[in-house]
């Protein structure tokens, strides 16, 4: 009886802790205005992807060859029926943009997650274990970097056929090496620090040392890398899809629309510009949030932030004192 009460109390305590943590996190996010805007943008993009059928004014695959390449509504020949104009088959650009976000965001997020997780684990192993493990993993990475990605894509295509899953698999298989290399070099540096040695001396198991003491210190460089990769992946997906190795029509993605619209750039600038802007906004939003996350996850950055805050407070105090 008493034990149950005790445990339920502890549980609610833990919940309260979490809630408090979340609240302070939101407060910090609110304080970092750029990060807050980024988060809002990401939320809006996700909402757009999820609610695409409700938001899109037209069927993204409905074509009208006689009304192709109509400019956006605000130019002379535009109509409000097609706010962002129509593409080379007379399809509504805005609707394609809304539907395209599904593939682009999903592929980008999935590839970054899969390739990132695998690459980081491999890098941690290589860096922490050293010796033979290290050389085997690093040689594996070297070999795979030297192997042409398109060829790999072709082989996979021949086996499982083109689809969104294929794209995710191909890009993940091709993208994990950079995480591995970066993690390994960072681990090598952190491994020599006193707190890691201390943890080892105290008798922590390897996985505890790796995940509690080493990994958190790699958060900020890895976040930066993941964001750079996200942008690259969105465009890489386009290249694959354009060649016929990726998603198949009538489905579309932002990158694919940029790739197919490229031929018309002198005639119809909106075909590349609109999905291009969408990609830029996404990358910007992710960047803003990541930069904020880097700030709060890096102890050194937090220290600097704290020092700055204290300095401001002191200056203010001095000013009011006089």
């Amino acid at each position: 009886m008493a034990e149950a009460a005790y445990s339920s109390k502890m549980l609610s305590g833990r919940w309260q802790d979490r809630l408090r943590g979340l609240r302070s996190l939101t407060q910090e996010l609110w304080r970092d205005k750029a990060g807050f805007i980024g988060m809002l943008l990401i939320a809006a993009l996700l909402l757009m992807a999820v609610a695409a059928p409700l938001l899109a004014p037209h069927d993204p695959a409905a074509q009208d060859l006689r009304a192709r390449l109509k400019p956006p509504a605000w130019s002379a020949q535009g109509t409000w029926n097609h706010i962002l104009g129509t593409d080379h088959l007379g399809r509504d650009v805005l609707s394609r943009l809304i539907y395209g976000s599904r593939v682009s965001l999903l592929v980008g997020a999935a590839v970054v997650t899969i390739a990132g997780t695998f690459g980081v684990i491999m890098g941690l192993l290589a860096g922490y274990r050293g010796g033979r493990t290290d050389s085997i993993i690093m040689r594996w990475i070297d070999t795979q970097v030297a192997f042409p990605g398109l060829l790999l894509a072709l082989i996979i295509l021949a086996v499982i056929g083109p689809s969104m899953i294929t794209v995710i698999i191909v890009l993940s298989l091709n993208g994990w090496m950079v995480y591995g290399r970066m993690t390994r070099s960072a681990v090598l540096a952190v491994r020599q620090t006193a707190y890691v040695e201390a943890a080892e001396i105290v008798g922590c198991r390897a996985h505890r040392v790796i995940f509690r003491h080493i990994l958190p210190n790699l958060t900020s460089p890895l976040l930066t890398l993941a964001i750079l990769e996200f942008a690259r992946i969105v465009l890489a997906e386009a290249a694959l899809s354009f060649l016929g190795l990726g998603i198949q029509p009538p489905a579309t993605s932002w990158g694919l629309d940029v790739a197919t619209g490229k031929d018309y750039i002198f005639r119809a600038w909106w075909l590349v510009t609109m999905p291009g802007i969408a990609i830029s906004i996404t990358v910007l939003a992710v960047n803003l949030v990541a930069s904020w996350m880097r700030l709060i996850s890096d102890p050194q950055e937090r220290e600097k932030q704290f020092a700055r805050k204290m300095a401001v407070r002191q200056r203010r105090r001095r000013a009011t004192g006089q």
Binding site: Q63, L65, P162, P249
Partner: protein, 491 residues
């Protein structure tokens, strides 16, 4: 004083000469650099664009496609069903002084049909078995059976000089009998030709021609606008408004969709017909190709080809009829796999996407598969993985029904998806029929048969579009050859 005067005069002369030379120069931008300048070895558009002006063939064509004697003095004569006798023009010399005679023709024929030479053009000449010299200006060609289109084949075979072609540098220094003579090949940059002053035929007007190899259509366009080029190939329809002059002429290319007549939902002839009725070909031609394509009239032939049946017209755009036919066939909602590729032919991806949308609109479920080109070719040439429908652009350089029909219409052809014995027999009969009128009527029957059975979704006949500068006069040819001797530079 005197020296300075002479110098000035000299400068003046040089400048005048340069200006004069410029006035007669033409620069042509083509899409790819020739892989070789041996005219008999490769099947290479870049090579052809240059060598068509250096070399000549026994038969030639007018710009409208009519066959006329070229190096042959008169139209070859059939002496028995398998032997043709060709009289040659006299007094013609190759650019290096070698005489053009029966020996040169026999040598050229034997060179290209020699299996060891392994020419990529062999599919054009696989009926020719042997060449014999009768006298200095008479040659006999033997074929493996009656070959009614030998004359079209001869129009494709360039005659090479026997001595010089043994030279190891032959592939870099071409020598022909044509109106232009090779000067220089700067690899990766340009090829220069000058007028052959001893040319036997009408003297060409342009004195010097330079070929540049520009892969990107946008760069070719920019070069034309800047006055760097006089003629550019494969202009996109979207850019025709911007160039000084755009020449467009009905070409040899037919985008078409091969339907599987032996399996899947397309086995039913009503479904195949419905897939034809469903597509608005006029909208494709007017919209997607901006008017630079014509609706294919229910056959894989242009009006200028031998065998074209003027009585057969395209399936009209009639979505209601398509829906009825699908309903009657019980194929509403059936999945049709449509295979295509991207970036190989003008607007290939766009065409496939547009057709898929039309098909979806009448009630089938089109599963589009855009494959990378090599994988696409694997599918195209493998009957089993070809799918219910596959998009292809057929190009027929012989301007005769035989080539397209043996490849795509006849059961067992490399791109054929039917097992229609009746159609195959017609095509075989036409192949060995040497009587023009009879052969024509057999092809008319074959065209009608394939049309009624709707073995294909016929789409368009694409026009070749060239961008031309204001200073050059040229009107293009139906066979897509770029002959400089037909051009004129305005003063």
């Amino acid at each position: 004083m005197k020296i300075r005067g002479k110098l000035l005069l000299g400068c003046f002369l040089v400048m005048a000469l340069a200006a004069f030379a410029n006035a007669q120069d033409v620069t042509i931008a083509i899409g790819s650099e020739p892989t070789t300048l041996d005219p008999q070895l490769r099947e290479d558009g870049g090579e052809r664009a240059v060598n068509d002006n250096i070399y000549e063939t026994l038969m030639a064509r007018t710009p409208k496609g009519q066959l006329i004697p070229g190096l042959a003095a008169s139209e070859p004569r059939l002496i028995d069903p398998q032997t043709w006798e060709i009289k040659l023009r006299s007094g013609i010399k190759f650019h290096n002084g070698e005489p053009f005679n029966a020996d040169a023709v026999v040598f050229s024929v034997k060179r290209i049909i020699n299996p060891k030479f392994n020419s990529e053009q062999i599919s054009f000449f696989n009926t020719i078995q042997d060449a014999q010299k009768v006298d200095n200006l008479t040659v006999r060609l033997k074929t493996d059976g009656p070959d009614p289109i030998l004359l079209s084949r001869l129009y494709w075979m360039k005659i090479v000089p026997p001595k010089h072609s043994m030279d190891s540098k032959f592939a870099e220094k071409p020598v022909g009998t044509g109106p232009y003579r090779f000067v220089q090949w700067d690899r990766g940059e340009s090829i220069t030709l000058v007028r052959n002053s001893n040319y036997w035929g009408t003297k060409p007007l342009v004195s010097r021609v330079k070929y540049r190899f520009i892969e990107e259509p946008g760069t070719r366009l920019a070069g034309l606008m800047a006055g760097e080029f006089d003629i550019i190939t494969n202009l996109l329809p979207e850019f025709t408004q911007q160039v000084p002059k755009a020449i467009h002429i009905l070409g040899l290319e037919h985008p078409i969709i091969i339907l599987n007549a032996d399996g899947g939902p397309t086995k039913d002839v009503r479904v195949r017909q419905a897939l034809n009725y469903a597509v608005d070909k006029d909208a494709l031609a007017e919209g997607l190709f901006e008017g630079f394509a014509q609706v294919a009239q229910g056959q894989l032939l242009s009006p200028s080809f031998f065998g074209y049946n003027p009585k057969v017209k395209a399936y009209p755009y009639n979505p209601d009829k398509a829906k009825q036919l699908l309903k009657a066939a019980g194929a509403v909602g059936a999945t049709v796999e449509l295979i295509g590729t991207a970036g190989r032919w003008l607007k290939d991806r766009e065409l496939v996407e547009a057709v898929a949308a039309y098909w979806d609109a009448v009630g089938v479920k089109t599963k589009v598969r855009i494959f990378e080109f090599n994988e696409y070719l694997n599918r195209l040439f493998d009957r089993k993985t070809r799918g219910d429908a596959i998009f292809v652009v057929s190009s027929n350089e012989l301007l005769d029904a035989d080539k397209s029909f043996s490849a795509y219409y006849k059961a067992g052809g490399i791109g054929s998806s039917n097992t229609d014995k009746q159609l195959a027999t017609l095509i075989d009969n036409a192949r060995s029929e040497t009587d023009f009128a009879k052969r024509k009527s057999i092809y008319h029957q074959a065209v009608k048969r394939a049309f009624d059975q709707a073995y294909f979704t016929w789409l368009l006949n694409i026009e070749d579009i060239y961008g031309v500068s204001a200073r050059v006069d040229w009107s293009g040819r139906v066979d897509a050859k770029i002959l400089v001797s037909e051009m004129k530079v305005k003063k």
